[in-house]
């Protein structure tokens, strides 16, 4: 069995307000916290923030880039949202090998999204199935 990747190639995205609008339309999540500056100004965030699932999509993209579509054949993500992402932020999604076992069918990676200031906005774990099924 080939050795697992130690460090996953990162994915970098610059988040814009226009992207939040496009994401709202594509996802059906039109929460004004993400879209309305006047509404967001009345919250603890002060301005619109990115949808959590939008930023999480960057992690999934990173995992597909590394493992192909077999990532979706039993793959599991478990994350905590640590800090908001604002329009103008640059988010880097990456992962490092955490555990591997000859007995298990999984390889476990620590994954995180980090903003341009080095703040981890999402942290968590990805369990990648070892055996591809030929997608």
């Amino acid at each position: 069995m080939e050795a697992p990747l130690q460090v996953l190639a990162t994915v970098v995205h610059s988040v814009s307000q226009d992207q939040l609008v496009r994401y709202a339309d594509a996802s059906g999540d039109h929460n004004p916290l993400h879209l309305d500056p006047a509404f967001a100004a009345g919250t603890t965030y002060g301005e619109p923030i990115a949808h959590g699932m939008l930023v999480l999509a960057f992690l999934s993209e990173m995992l597909v880039n590394s493992f192909g579509l077999r990532w979706f054949d039993g793959g599991k993500l478990q994350v905590r949202f640590r800090a908001p992402v604002y329009p103008g932020d640059v988010v880097t999604a990456g992962g490092t090998l955490q555990t591997q076992s000859a007995e298990d069918d999984w390889t476990v990676y620590r994954v995180a999204c980090t903003n341009q200031s080095g703040v981890e906005v999402i942290t968590g774990e990805a369990r990648v199935p070892r055996t591809p099924r030929g997608y």
Binding site: R22, A26, S27, L54, D73, G74
Partner: protein
């Protein structure tokens, strides 16, 4: 869809309660709109005529959130996603969302929702969403 105010009695949500349930079909146009929105330029899904699984999780979760009248102080604190299989664009899927947990601790309401997308009875994507709501009790 109303995100302002406290229209729903969140305290009345019971574990096991169904929030939303409906059929779902993802077209190529919808898949492309999703991929454009998340900035994913890979053509692997479209060329294979596959629905991006994250799009399914997103659509099911959004439906669950729309069924709740969540106040402005709601924070998405955590997310779990389990991907079981890939499905083709245009197939008929079904999503369902339910309450897994509803508790109040230290002045915050903690809701945990389970959403599931199935194809012909088989799970495609399963998600668990953790929310914290200030003043939501």
């Amino acid at each position: 869809m109303n995100f302002v105010g406290y229209g729903m009695d969140l305290a009345a949500l019971l574990p096991g309660q169904t929030l939303a349930e409906a059929e779902l079909v993802v077209s190529q146009q919808a898949a492309e709109a999703y991929l454009t929105a998340v900035g994913d330029s890979s053509r692997v899904y479209i060329e294979s005529r596959l629905v991006p699984p994250m799009a399914l999780a997103t659509l099911a979760l959004a439906a669950a959130m729309r069924s709740l009248d969540l106040p402005a102080g709601t924070v998405h604190t955590g997310q779990e996603l389990t991907f079981a299989k890939l499905v083709k664009l245009g197939v008929r899927l079904r999503y369902s969302a339910m309450v897994e947990q509803n508790a109040v601790r230290r002045g915050l309401r903690f809701l945990r929702l389970q959403t599931r997308v199935t194809h012909q009875g088989q799970v495609v994507v399963h998600a668990a969403t953790s929310l914290a709501i200030a003043g939501g009790h």
